[in-house]
Subunit: 131 residues, 2 copies
Amino acid sequence: MTVPPPQQAIDFCATMTDEQDEFAREMLERVSARWPLRTLQILQAAGGPLRFSRVLERVGGISQKVLTQTLRMLERDGLITRTLYPQVPPRVEYELTPLGYELLLQTVPLWHWIIEHLPAFTAARHEAAKR
Amino acid sequence: MTVPPPQQAIDFCATMTDEQDEFAREMLERVSARWPLRTLQILQAAGGPLRFSRVLERVGGISQKVLTQTLRMLERDGLITRTLYPQVPPRVEYELTPLGYELLLQTVPLWHWIIEHLPAFTAARHEAAKR
DNA sequence: CCGAATCCAATTGGATACTG
DNA sequence: CAGTATCCAATTGGATTCGG
């Protein structure tokens, strides 16, 4: 694997104010909960606006209630937009914002790393199970 | 900010098997839950083994029960080691593994990005609150 | 000291029914 | 169609007590 970057890269965490630290961890927690990242990914893959029903289908396994909550949260944080077309029946479209896209990109290295190390995790668990 | 990297970087998600995808997301979820990352960070900052009580103090706000669960999980995944010294009273030390350190490093860019964009999130929420 | 066990409060999530 | 509202089951987390 690669040589670990300097300690400094992590130590900067200590330079944050408590307020920053709390808010940052709140965002990290939020974004990496069960559905938000997947939802963003679906919207990214769509390459354009997606109706509520389509998102519901593609995310898969999520309930309608939780999807609504997730979308509201992502909208609130400026990661997606919500557009209501006042028709009957109503149409609502969700779309990734540049901010949301950027965030998604930042998660890619971690994602890559995890996938690369899946065997290591499996091995660790197997090892742990023996004891 | 920077120009977005090619689409390809994200699209590789689609190339995974369902099994890989599920396991990878499980790991991502796990590692980015409320305490695991912070616990790893504490152990990293310590620069060496840390007793249970010390971790409990430094993480701050976590209960003994949840810390135990967290540490067990991290150990199971090979991210930390747990060493029991059979004394009276017993001493148990936890230490970051190279794997744990590597994972921690992978999260740094995302962490950085979130902190940089804290104002953007605040602005988005403020904007959302007006409506 | 480390942590397992127990009990309990609070939060979360699914299913269902209903509305603009 | 896109939610909101309601109810309920399951999970989570804290506090406390006990044990090796």
